[in-house]
Amino acid sequence: MISKKGVSASPGVVIGPALVLDTEEYRIPRRTVAADQVRQQIVVLEEALDASRQEVNDLRVAAARKLGEQTASIFAFHEGVIADPKLRDEVLLLIRNNQYTAAYAFAQVMHARQKLFQNVTVEYLKERVRDLYDIEKRVLRHVLGRAREDITRLTEPVVLVTHDLTPSQAVSIDRDHILGLATNVGGQTSHMAIIARMLGIPSVVALNDITSDLGGGETVVIDGSEGVVVVDPDPATIDEYREKQIRLSRKEAALETLRDVPAVTRCGTPIAMWANIELAEETGAALHRGGEGVGLYRTEFLFLSADRLPTEAQQVETFRQAAESMQGKPLVIRTIDLGADKLLPSSSLGQEHNPVLGLRSLRYCLRHLDMFKTHLRAILRASVAGDVRIMFPMITTVTELRNAKATLADVMEDLEEEGIDFRRDIPVGMMVETPAAAMTAPSFAKEVEFFSIGTNDLTQYTLAVDRANERVAYLYSPHSPSVLLLIRRVLVAARRHKVAVHLCGEMAGTPEYTQLLLGLGIRRLSMSPQDIPSIKRVIRSTTIDECDQIATKVMRLDSDRQVWNHLRSQLAKLPLEESA
């Protein structure tokens, strides 16, 4: 039994068998090709065999030097198999005769060998099947390039253990089969973590090398609440975590009872509780948890889950469905926020040295007007189905905002000419998530109907910290005095210009921040649906006076550690309303 500490990404406890991506079989995306692609598959195979052979040769030389000839002979054998003419002929035959892809043909041949080997009873030879897996994986890695495994075709519930999950993998997570997640890298605000929380999948990230501690199939415990993973737990430990599971679900049930009570402070000030969602289907969860609106609908996931760009009709359908299911409550649709870590699989955005500062989000949209206009058309067409509002992300200059608004006006004109129904007075807002936008909030306030403060990116850009880089993640704190000053600045500008403002981002769903945010003047919070009950509990236990005092005190502190300690102690003092 080993226990590893990482960073809590999504709360809850789960116990299940591990599926380790990277060491399990590769999943082959395509099995056959058209007749005219056979030649190309042969080339792919030859190149992969050459590259693999070179790789193993390097390993052999290094092993001979460091570990001795005995170990090196293993790699000599691997090299021999990769260069094996009989093996190669067999694979080529399958590609030529059956039009198999290089990957599928090679895997078929290797699987047949592995299967035969499973009947071997001699222990030390039996072990050699591992080498066959190893060879297969190496060659397939070269055949498939950097193509990632497909986790959409799981057949039994597992705890997924992996180096990292790309956003497109994260969106294809199927909660019936993925009980929990453990990753080597990542942080609390990486997209994988956000999605895990939204789906209620207990997860631990930043475990460094969890993938090398597991082979797959071991029982693991994921304690997402504490950020702990236990590999091969003993029976006593399993019992302990089973009990914890039960305790947590009781607590969850207790918070449920807060769903229908209003989010009003003890002194009678109502606070609007809105929800952040990624998928149209989540509007249900948002309302169910007591959401009074959706303050952030992240449309890019619609783009990430498909292999190609969704058509206008598909987008209209998705947005319309979301708008209708909101039952008249506001739905703020954020226009595509792609780029940085959220690359479109279907289109290459090219390599950028510094993608977070690169052509992403609205910048990308303004450069790809066809795609952007289609997207805006879809939002406008869906606007008749409910209280739809539109929000532009990642804005740094007023010119950018004006360009976006001009594009929107163009699209409206087109729709009018075509006689297509839409809401002409659709409210237009923007994310305030760059220090530039926060600093010049007064100028922006004259141009939009609402602001949404995106604290995740605002923190990242203000502190110059990559939130997914575990080596600098310790510097990432939304309660840093610099970030708080920017937030206050935005609120002052909004108040002066009578612009509505809400705050989305992880900060909104973290109970420690609630009183501070109310004290700074926030009256509308948008958060993950599952955070609504616990935030509501804080709101119902405090008064605006208390919040004002906390904010005043915090704005005088000069280190994020002091701020955090103060916020924690103030939260602890709160007479949190006992739920039924």
């Binding site: 293993i74 094996d84 009989k86 093996l87 060998r113 080997f117 030879l125």
Partner: protein, 89 residues
């Protein structure tokens, strides 16, 4: 010309990685076609994969076949290699 000989695997771990690669490297020095049979399984003498699949453990009897100009020398050399336990015994 076809030459055929029987030989017993002597080394403790049977035909595993190192012996296989020694066998293959030796076989590659000849032009004759070389086959190895072990019970109902058959391997090309130059295919590490097929040789591994023979699962020839210590004490197993294998039959070597060579077909070609240098068949005799090939079989003699390979038999000697197997009989000396690939230098491991």
């Amino acid at each position: 010309m076809t030459v055929e000989r029987e030989v017993v695997i002597k080394n403790k771990e049977g035909l595993h990685f190192r012996p296989i690669m020694q066998f293959v490297e030796t076989a590659q020095k000849f032009t004759a076609r070389i086959l190895v049979r072990c019970e109902d399984r058959e391997a090309d003498g130059r295919s590490p994969m097929e040789l591994l699949m023979l699962v020839a453990t210590q004490g197993t009897v294998v039959r070597l076949f060579a077909d070609g100009d240098d068949a005799t020398l090939a079989v003699e050399t390979l038999v000697a290699l197997v009989e000396t336990g690939f230098g491991e015994v």
